[in-house]
Symmetry: D3
Subunit: 166 residues, 6 copies
Amino acid sequence: MKGAIFPIGLLLLASAISPLSAWSVEPDSRRLRGQETLEKITGAEGRRVVDSLREISPELGDWIVDFSYGDVFSRPGISLCTRELATISALTALGDARPQLKVHIEGALNVGCSPNEVVEVIIQQAVYAGFPRALNGISAAKEVFEKRGVRTASLKPEAAGATIEP
Amino acid sequence: MKGAIFPIGLLLLASAISPLSAWSVEPDSRRLRGQETLEKITGAEGRRVVDSLREISPELGDWIVDFSYGDVFSRPGISLCTRELATISALTALGDARPQLKVHIEGALNVGCSPNEVVEVIIQQAVYAGFPRALNGISAAKEVFEKRGVRTASLKPEAAGATIEP
Amino acid sequence: MKGAIFPIGLLLLASAISPLSAWSVEPDSRRLRGQETLEKITGAEGRRVVDSLREISPELGDWIVDFSYGDVFSRPGISLCTRELATISALTALGDARPQLKVHIEGALNVGCSPNEVVEVIIQQAVYAGFPRALNGISAAKEVFEKRGVRTASLKPEAAGATIEP
Amino acid sequence: MKGAIFPIGLLLLASAISPLSAWSVEPDSRRLRGQETLEKITGAEGRRVVDSLREISPELGDWIVDFSYGDVFSRPGISLCTRELATISALTALGDARPQLKVHIEGALNVGCSPNEVVEVIIQQAVYAGFPRALNGISAAKEVFEKRGVRTASLKPEAAGATIEP
Amino acid sequence: MKGAIFPIGLLLLASAISPLSAWSVEPDSRRLRGQETLEKITGAEGRRVVDSLREISPELGDWIVDFSYGDVFSRPGISLCTRELATISALTALGDARPQLKVHIEGALNVGCSPNEVVEVIIQQAVYAGFPRALNGISAAKEVFEKRGVRTASLKPEAAGATIEP
Amino acid sequence: MKGAIFPIGLLLLASAISPLSAWSVEPDSRRLRGQETLEKITGAEGRRVVDSLREISPELGDWIVDFSYGDVFSRPGISLCTRELATISALTALGDARPQLKVHIEGALNVGCSPNEVVEVIIQQAVYAGFPRALNGISAAKEVFEKRGVRTASLKPEAAGATIEP
């Protein structure tokens, strides 16, 4: 359906100039859907990562756009915010993917998750992946929040009391 | 606030009978809150796990109830369904926690997530933790769905077409 | 280029019968290439895995065929045997993917690797991922070799002496 | 220094019969030291594992004896019990090495650690590697303790109260 | 029992000023015990980490003090040095927790382990988690030893010869 | 057999000066074989790593030379290039061993693998260990290629078209 709003003449022109990377115009619905979803989640950052792969492995960039964002993240069934929270949860648990974790903490905020929700799924990993990974996840979140000017001091007044027993 | 509805007389009585395990009556709001949340999520299964620890390490059982469920899972901020989906995501990514993954797939269904949402966060791990862990996660889900009689054949008519390009 | 030998009339017919799974005829070069590569590597086993996903998550099966085998494993640049050895190496290192490891030990033999090469990359993981994962990898190889009647006793006469100092 | 108590005549004889595996008599101090340490820690079990490798990868068996037990575990500096507790800690944290974890829980008991110490380092992993791996570690310990008739019910009367606040 | 030496009047006062973080005075024996153990192991460093969480996730800081150090590390049964060696072993094996590993290498020295013992459990991970993680663990130890002026050149005269065969 | 070309007089002399580290002359075939293989693969870099261990843990350096390179990497059965590709595959999958990954990307080039082959096994990990680890592996390769002046822009003309559907 997205293809429908893409002018067919441009498509033909595009295929004539032999597109070679994820960001050339290309008449492929996965590509277009992937680019759109990638931009919705990561803003310009995802595109920057894909572009950085152009010289060493453009196909890895293509797979990110076509498969990760075109096939997987564009699926209906759960909201983009829930997808991003699930991604943050997995990346915190894996523990060695800080650059990607930061991209998806930004992504979660971009698609409407609250900073509070991001913090919740990260600290929950103290239970499943252990405190070091939860701590390193929170440190990544702190960097993102400071960069974006999210005021963390007043983040969760209601939650602050929740762990203090009377 | 939960403590407020707990009769103070019972509390005193309870402390007099010297509770020794997670499932004795004990005047501790974390314990009560944890037991309640554990039961809400896992039904009788969580209690069975905690009981199985009684002889070898009752304190590990206490920590599950008091810390994991009393402190962490009882927090406000995200819904229990989102918590369970984040848990499923992390356990699929960790890859070596099949018993716990199955408990939380049941837990997700118990707190109102749809089978479809469970499947979505598991297959998304093909992107973040690789296909083998996604496959093993789906195999765990399949066992749970079959046990509970969830009809997977008609799981997601709308999604079925989503990955097929025209 | 493979698309070129696929009769265009059949393609139109195929698209008319609305294929819904990885194993229906479908006019997609990734799908065809993926099925071919999957079969070359895993014989009927890969197809069995994909089929087992039909009811719970047919799209995960599609991704295995289209992305893993159509996009990645069908690439030129290294031989299929080297790809399989690299896969065995990674799966041994990850440590929690025994079913997939066994499929790819079979796959390595199917595409012409020798049992000796399979054993070499597994035991090398004693250095990189530690002895337990190397041991569990060898135990998986042993099961596959016994099933296929690979005579392991005489596997590597030359190598047997290699670690014994005079 | 251990070599000093090994009769030199036997050594010469041994080298004449051209030993081919870890368990033949062989004039190598690493081999002898490794066999001795392996037996001290694992009893007959380690030898059984090494023997099971004879046909598929005798060199992996050699490395276990010569390197793991001859070079590493035979070192002075920390007691064998502390080594075994450190091993149990690492194997619980890695999470996917249950057979090896069970061997070393037995090993810890064999070299004089108490069941209580074994339980302590396993449940401590709830903090560092998360609850699922701690739980799976305890389940491995439970199997070992039951097999050996370690009475877990009365394991740690003093510790039982330690996590219960007055 | 530690609560007994805490003046009850101060406790009441403390609860009146509504403590909000792990480092306010708070009438909870887990908190007090945790703070004491955390300080014994990490000196001022652990408190600095907990304080750094105050704005983004004070509850994660609370859990570190109350659960990790109050419930787990304060337990009897094994010495603090053995606990720290087990922690170093697990963190080296997990591989992606360098900041925490450095804190606990310092912690091990703080509670009376020798530098030699620290080195032993790290290099032992060459066997269980592979050489890269052992190497990265040793590199962390090197940084800590240099910062504290531990003279590593003369670390272990007796051990130096242990791996050299005559 | 390598020992045969080593002058026996020098051996006796060498043993008289009591070698203490991996890089002293020492009459041990594993040591010599290991040094030779280590240098063939890593050039001066491996020696630098081993030397950096001299003060904190010379035995870890010995084990790298004697066991990892003398016992494992010196084995016949697969080519050094295949060994290095298997190593790169495992290190990319483990995810937290960037320094070692970079050493072995250089190693692969040193023993005759093409940059293209290195890229292939890294991006293949998108399937087995997930996209974040594949991306971080490619970023390590990029640093190595830039340092060595490998022209990545023209890396794989033939492969570039392989993932673009017509």
